[in-house]
């Protein structure tokens, strides 16, 4: 019969109220956003310097916080880049870079290990391979054994333990390559590091709500609202290859000098025309830095203090002990920042980088070192910049279109179904409110196609009600009395409503899974719209109809 249990009624009303409650902050977007920013800054105890750079005072912060009461919900729907303006980059990480530097790093180890039995020479080889010629080919078996002991175990995803390098030998040449397991493990590490470093660099600049996500095996998606252009964003991320400390072979002025195998020529950053020949295999890399701070050297010149982790400290200590009086180069981005001479054994793993820095440069260098260099080069395969004005135009146009669509549909429903149309209209308003509430709750991002999804939902959401109302009309014709007709209308329309919406929901899910960016935003609003519209049609309008019916007990109804 036309009855709904009291607890169900309460549950339905509460659900609607919760949806609308969560959606409410979006109606006051500007103030709530300021409030949230202020709360965030207060909670992390923002520094005075940062406040000053934003031209704010503590009093301003409190005033902004007061714009929206703390006890009200304050989650907002994120606006996508196409609405807010900003930059979008899809970067591909050159994973092979890391293989090359891994292999490079094995050369000194191999050389030192074999020194005991026979002198060796490095041979020309592809970058991801190390070839070593033994002076005494007779020692091959013994040498292979020794090199194989250098291998370290790697655990692959399947749990099997493999060696990190593969060693083979023929014709007096030993070839060392990375094993597949090590490559997979390295890839994983490289991606994690790249993500972390990009995240830290973007955070240093302090923009709002950046999205930094891994996509597939070798890509990273970076979206930052409010950045002027994609190239600005690229500058922030940098495409730095590596920070390394390398032994210096010689210094000269010829960029085309033949460096010899295992060495390379790199320019100096602040001495024009000067070039260093350095050993390609670094003593220590920037990955082993744990801290870097801007400082001043004994002459009062800006400099950078740094500290290595334990393995880095040991390597650095051993090297400085053995090479007192020899120069070594600090290389960033394939340029020599400085090439000091080692004055003494540096055991503690900390040191100072001096050069012709300004205070600002030393600060930047410290930030860069602290964040760490990217382990591999990035190439950008997709980039999009949306200007803030265009975003604002799109929001404005979207708002107007949504309102007009809404009004048209509301009017049309009223004209067609009278009182029942009003029920459907109230449900429709609740429906859109709930979509916004859910979007805020899950922290989803609203994009321009997402707005289209909402408008489409407005059009389609009435479908379930239309199905029911049409069915009630039909049932009325067979004159079973209004109560029975309403009941049958709801019952019989249910299977059509469910089948129709489940199939549409399937396409929304596929769209979400396969799509990216704006398309995904569309899938989210469409999917949520289906859920809320089914809910409002079969529960909310029904509740309204039932309550109305109980009060009026009409002998006849017109739908």
């Amino acid at each position: 019969m036309l009855q709904i249990d009291m607890w169900k009624r309460i549950l339905i009303v509460l659900t609607c109220a919760a949806g609308l409650w969560l959606a409410m902050p979006n109606a006051f977007y500007g103030p709530v956003e300021m409030h949230n920013d202020a709360v965030e800054m207060i909670e992390r105890n923002v520094s005075d310097a940062e406040l000053a750079s934003k031209k704010l005072t503590r009093a301003d912060l409190e005033a902004q916080r007061a714009l929206w009461p703390d006890w009200l919900p304050s989650r907002l729907v994120n606006l996508g880049l196409d609405l807010r303006g900003g930059a979008h980059l899809l970067a591909e990480v050159k994973l092979e870079d890391v293989y090359a530097s891994r292999i490079k790093a094995t050369w000194p180890e191999v050389r030192d290990a074999l020194r005991a039995i026979t002198p060796v020479r490095r041979q020309q080889s592809p970058e991801d391979e190390l070839r070593v010629r033994l002076n005494d080919p007779e020692k091959m078996t013994e040498a292979l054994e020794i090199v194989r002991t250098l291998a370290r175990p790697v655990q692959s995803l399947t749990g099997a333990i493999n060696n990190d390098i593969e060693v083979s030998g023929s014709d007096g040449i030993i070839t060392v390559t990375l094993s597949e397991a090590e490559k997979t493990a390295t890839d994983e590490r490289t991606m994690q590091q790249s993500l972390e470093i990009i995240r830290r660099r973007i955070d240093e600049v302090g923009t709002r709500e950046p999205t930094i996500q891994r996509q597939g095996a070798e890509r990273i998606l970076i979206q930052v609202p409010g950045v002027g252009s994609a190239s600005e964003l690229k500058d922030i991320i940098g495409t730095t290859a590596q920070l390394t400390f390398n032994p210096v072979v010689s210094r000269g002025a010829d960029p085309n000098a033949n460096p010899g195998i295992g060495n390379e020529v790199v320019p100096s950053i602040d001495e024009p025309g000067a070039f260093y020949i350095i050993e390609s295999a670094p003593v220590v890399t920037g990955e082993e830095l744990v801290d870097a701070q801007p400082a001043f050297d004994q002459n009062g010149q800006p400099a950078v203090n740094f500290r290595f982790n334990t393995t880095g400290a040991r390597k650095f200590g051993d090297y400085t002990a053995q090479n007192i009086g020899a120069p070594f180069a600090i290389v960033l981005d394939d340029e020599v920042i400085s090439a000091p001479t080692i004055q003494s054994h540096i055991p503690g793993g900390s040191g100072i980088i001096t050069g012709n820095f300004s205070v600002e440069e030393s600060t930047n260098l410290a930030v860069l070192l602290r964040a760490g260099a990217l382990p591999a080069e990035l190439t950008f395969v997709e980039e999009r910049t949306i200007g803030p004005e265009l975003g604002q135009d799109s929001i404005d146009a979207g708002k107007v279109a949504t309102v007009v669509a809404f009004v048209a549909v509301l009017f049309f429903m009223f004209a067609s179904y009278g009182l029942f149309g009003i029920f459907a209209n109230i449900a429709l308003i609740i429906n859109v409110g709930m979509i916004f509430g859910l979007l805020s709750l899950i922290g989803a991002t609203l994009t321009l196609p997402g707005i289209a999804g909402i408008v489409l939902t407005v059009g389609m959401a009435v479908d379930a009600n239309v199905l029911i109302f049409e069915r009630i009309r039909e049932e009325l014709k067979t004159a079973k009395g209004p109560a029975r007709a309403i009941e049958l209308g709801y019952e019989k329309a249910l299977s059509a409503i469910l089948d129709a919406n489940i199939t549409t929901f399937i396409t929304a899910v596929i769209l979400f899974a396969m799509g990216s960016g704006p398309v995904r935003g569309f899938a989210i609003t469409l999917g949520l719209g289906i859920l809320t519209s089914v809910f409002t049609a079969i529960f909310v309008t029904r509740l309204m109809v039932v309550i109305w019916f109980e009060r009026k007990r009409p002998k006849t109804i017109e739908v």
């Binding site: 395969v381 019989k492 299977s495 929304a508 398309v519």
Partner: protein
């Protein structure tokens, strides 16, 4: 007085010429396909790589001047078009410049964008770029692949769902109707050379969803009526079902179209292509659920012996005499 789009108790004979309608639908699909083969789609950069720059200026766009300004840069294939929209200010003139993917580059480098903008500043000194989008050839190839997979997956999933809930003949009818809608939509995009980008794929899938919605509602009624009128021939049952749901079909199409038309006119030029695809899809989808899906059902015939154990027995609809 209520507004009635469709008068009560219609009794149109939709199947008097059902073979002709199927023929017409088939012919339309062939035309759309030929258009697609000859003209091809006007792929946006999402699918073929390259860069688009949207420029904003307070002086009227003269395409030839822009072209002359860019000629010395030797960017290869450059297309320039003016964008019109009622939401623009009176002194707002927008152009879209599309250049092909540059040799040896994935995404465009900022130097090229700057070179283009400074060349354009010789025409209009205060011209600004309001959006720059660049997609490398590698990514665009993958995007096409994903898009095709998404559409095929969606149709496949739906085929299975309807097969489970109805009979295979229903699934065949619904899916043929979907293929019809997708092909006609692609056809109209190729015929009118409307930009086909990632958003249009979203629109295509929405059309799939919408058309299906419509088809399923009709089929649901067919299923119900097949049990109610056990002795009547299939074409009559189909006709009754379509007539009974006609009022709802029109109501839903009209409310959806109302919303979409508002978006088409007022929603700005950025999503106009997307909205156009959906408007077209709603019209085609409504047509196809009657003249393709049901006609295919008629062609294949349906198992009429419902005296076998009820497929719905024991599930959540068991108490519904549908």
């Amino acid at each position: 007085m209520r507004l009635r789009l469709v008068k009560q108790d219609t009794n149109f004979d939709f199947f008097k010429r059902w073979k002709m309608w199927l023929g017409i639908s088939g012919l339309m699909m062939v035309i759309a396909f030929i258009s697609f083969m000859i003209q091809g789609l006007n792929f946006g950069i999402d699918f073929r790589g390259g860069t688009t720059i949207r420029t904003d200026s307070n002086q009227p766009v003269v395409v030839a001047e822009y072209r002359d300004a860019l000629a010395p840069l030797e960017l290869g294939d450059v297309s320039i078009s003016e964008v019109f929209d009622p939401t623009f200010e009176d002194d707002q003139f927008v152009a879209m410049i599309r250049i092909q993917a540059q040799e040896g580059e994935e995404a465009i480098n900022s130097g090229t964008v700057e070179a283009i903008m400074s060349a354009l500043r010789t025409v209009h000194p205060e011209i600004k770029e309001s959006a720059v989008e660049s997609v490398g050839p590698k990514v665009s190839g993958e995007l096409i692949q994903t898009a095709v997979i998404a559409v095929v997956l969606a149709i496949g999933a739906v085929l299975i769902y309807i097969w489970l809930r109805f009979e295979w003949q229903f699934a065949a009818g619904a899916v043929l109707a979907l293929v019809h809608d997708v092909i006609l939509t692609i056809g109209i995009f190729s015929e009118f050379e409307i930009k086909f980008d990632l958003a249009i794929i979203a629109a295509l899938l929405t059309i799939v969803g919408y058309s299906l919605n419509d088809t399923v509602v009709v089929f649901d009624r067919v299923r119900e009526n097949l049990r109610k009128y056990k002795k009547r021939p299939l074409n009559e049952v189909l006709n009754i079902s379509i007539n009974e749901t006609l009022s709802r079909t029109f109501m839903t199409s009209v409310t959806t179209l109302l919303a979409l038309i508002a978006l088409f006119v007022l929603g700005g030029d950025v999503i106009r292509g997307f909205v156009f695809a959906m408007i077209w899809g709603v019209i085609v989808g409504t047509y196809s659920s009657i003249f393709v899906a049901s006609a295919v059902l008629l062609y294949f015939g349906v198992k009429r012996d419902w005296s076998k154990p009820d497929v719905n027995a024991g599930n959540q609809y068991a108490n519904i005499d549908a």
